[in-house]
Amino acid sequence: MANKQISQMGLPKSIANVFAARNVFTAKDALSLTEFELMELLDVGLAQITSAVAHISEIVCPPYQTALSLMELRVQNEHLAGHLPTHMKGLDEALCGGIPFGVLTELVGPAGIGKTQFCLKLSLLASLPASYGGLDGHVIYIDVESKFSSRRLIEIGVKSFPEIFHRKGMAQEMAGRIHVLRPASLSEFTESLQQIKVSLLQNQVKLLVIDSMAALVTGEFEHGAPRQNTLGWHISFIKSLAEFSRIPVVVTNQVRSQSRDETCHYYFQVQSWNEAIKDRTRHDSHLVAALGINWAHAVTIRLVLEAKSGQRFIKVAKSPISPPLAFPFNITSSGILLLSDDGTELTGPDIYAIHCQGHNDIINFGGESLQ
């Protein structure tokens, strides 16, 4: 929309020609200048500029919908009003049906906690036929760290849905719907994203998994600001992909330890800040999600996987539709199993903290191990 040509907007000929003569071709060029700047540039009176800008704005402006029509559209057209059920009852209830369509869902946690397992299970669920609660579609799995294990995928399938997978040829069909990409660098990833956009609607793709986002920038830059800006374009692009195609997008993220300089306070919170300085030992054992605060704002749903006293938990740390609940889980041969469907509600810093205590006893799959 931003790149729409001014010549095609139906402006009166005289003014349209002036725009073109001064190299203002697209709506983006025109709207990036204030009205006085345009007046100077085009040598045209203010009244004409105002009406031209109003005309361009009206055309470029996105159409509106009432919230009611939005809801009705989703209920009618989409599976479960736009959710992919994870088959973990407690989590599905918390998320109003499952992983929502059209937005970014992030899985973050320390190494070996089960993020890739979750992604494998989700990929399987998306490829299942609708009668078994799946989306009956294709899955694009972007595997940056080469953690995708097709053997494990089939194992999960056979253990969770024996009726389907023991039928002849079904395993091949289900696994055949999952397309794995292995970009070696950020630029390859960028290219494949653009190709994905093109093939999204054609191939009935119903889920996009990126495992993991953090691995794409680790090794390219050092800590700090550069990492945030590198992914800026990708974040917007992936979000718009998710939205216009109305598919769920699941992205995994790594953790890093919280450095000494990081406080999470405002200038008016001076008292708690002083306490935090005295309490530095507490900070050293804390993990935070990688990719920075800009990324944290961009994801819509953040699921944190962590380990406390040897028990793994999956908690809904950020979600516009659910309270902050934590569910204990284990990894079994059939994927992830919640030990309790009633989550415990969390408050305050517990919601965002990522714990990694007592996490040595993990199951090895395809080479995942805790360092």
């Binding site: 929309m1 931003a2 983006k28 709207l31 990036s32 204030t34 007046m39 100077e40 085009l42 040598d43 045209v44 009176g45 203010l46 800008v53 109003a54 361009i56 704005s57 009206e58 055309i59 470029v60 402006c61 996105p62 919908q65 009432t66 919230a67 009611l68 939005l70 809801m71 989703r74 009003a81 109003c96 929502p100 937005v103 800026g232 374009w233 974040i235 917007s236 979000k239 998710a242 939205e243 406080t263 999470c264 405002y266 200038y267 008016f268 708690s272 605060i293 944290a296 704002h297 961009a298 994801v299 819509t300 740390a317 516009p320 539709i321 309270p323 305050g348 810093p349 517990d350 965002y352």
Partner: protein, 346 residues
């Protein structure tokens, strides 16, 4: 007044100066055709220049004469006007108290906070609370929700709408036992119908939309709140020219202020946070830079204080700096549980 300050194109200005007209009074008594001959332009153009000149002259205030400046309003009139428009409640009594009753119409309020603190929740709550009927102390208006991040979830809006109707019916039962006519017939779908949702995918669309809102709101006069969630997102990714960003943001802020004033509606802008290096350490601050922080009339920061969510009035011409706790429940924004107050309805 110098000819250089007239809003006319550069070539017209150049011709005026070349022909010797440097002040307004020098050509204001001429006829358009005389001016046209002098400047060698068409009659219509000359008439246009004269019209612009006389308009500017009027705005400047005449030398001898009325004593009041055109376009100004006395402070007394403004006070009366303010009292006419009720504020939009946030459904949390403590928060309403520090805001002086709620979000003020005719002003731009910026609300910022870390991810997950409840900005979108507050935005959705306000979009629903603006629709509370006048009989129940609300504005009975409609809402425009501009979503730049895709964080508006319809299921949540439905939940909050249902809870709002429940609260109103309860309150209606308590206060208006004799008022049979005022039966609450609102259905959550009616509430959802009155939220106009725009999804913006780039900063160009954001600017275009804000330009277009003038026309849209003239056609939908009962819109009483415009929520932008969030105003930051598209200006944070991938912007190379920071000076351009500042210009665009201030242009946008001015247009929003004008909208708020012209149509007497509330404008709520949700902002993200970033870290800033001050005095040897990193501190949290709202995004978009220092120049933007001057643009909004009121500024509220949402933050975590221990286990509770708090709101802090960072900047306001009429409200004291204060903080208040609030909580996000399945019904929306409500009082913080630890305060144990019953929600007092308007």
């Amino acid at each position: 007044m110098e000819v250089g300050r007239l809003p006319i194109s550069a070539s017209q200005r150049g011709k005026l100066i070349a022909a010797g007209y440097t002040t307004l009074s020098s050509f204001s008594s001429l006829s358009p055709s005389h001016l046209a001959r002098d400047l060698k332009i068409s009659d219509n153009e000359a008439a246009e220049i004269m019209r612009v000149a006389s308009h500017s002259r009027r705005l400047d205030g005449s030398a001898g004469g009325c004593g009041t400046v055109n376009g100004a309003q006395t402070a007394w009139d403004m006070l009366h006007e303010e009292e006419m428009f009720p504020r939009i409640t946030t459904s949390c009594v403590d928060l309403d108290n520090i805001l002086g009753g709620g979000i003020n119409c005719k002003e731009v309020t910026e609300i910022g906070g870390v991810p997950g603190i409840g900005k979108t929740q507050l935005g959705i709550q306000l979009a629903i609370n603006v629709q509370i009927p006048v009989d129940y102390g609300g504005l009975g208006g409609k809402a425009i929700y501009i979503d730049t991040e895709g964080s508006f979830m319809v299921e949540r809006a439905l939940q909050i709408a249902e809870a709002c109707i429940e609260d109103m019916s309860e309150c209606g039962g308590l206060l208006r036992k004799d008022f049979q006519a005022c039966q609450l017939k609102m259905h959550p779908n009616n509430i959802l119908e009155n939220i106009f949702y725009f999804r913006v995918c780039s900063y160009t669309e954001q600017i275009a939309l804000i330009n277009y809102l003038d026309k849209f709101i003239s056609e939908h006069k009962d819109v009483k709140i415009v929520i932008v969630d969030s105003v930051t997102f598209h200006f944070r990714q991938d912007f190379d020219d920071m000076a351009l960003r500042t210009r665009l943001l201030s242009g946008m802020a001015l247009k929003l202020m004008k909208l708020a004033k012209d149509f007497s509606l509330a404008v709520v802008l949700l902002n993200q946070v970033t870290t800033k290096y001050i005095d040897g350490s990193f501190q949290l601050t709202l995004a978009l830079g220092d120049s933007w922080s001057h643009s909004c009339t009121n500024r509220v920061i949402l933050y975590w204080n221990g286990n509770e969510r708090y709101a802090y009035i960072d900047k306001s011409p009429s409200l004291r700096s204060a903080s208040a706790p609030y909580s996000v429940t399945s019904k929306g924004i409500r009082n913080s549980a630890s305060n144990c107050k019953r929600i007092k309805m308007m």
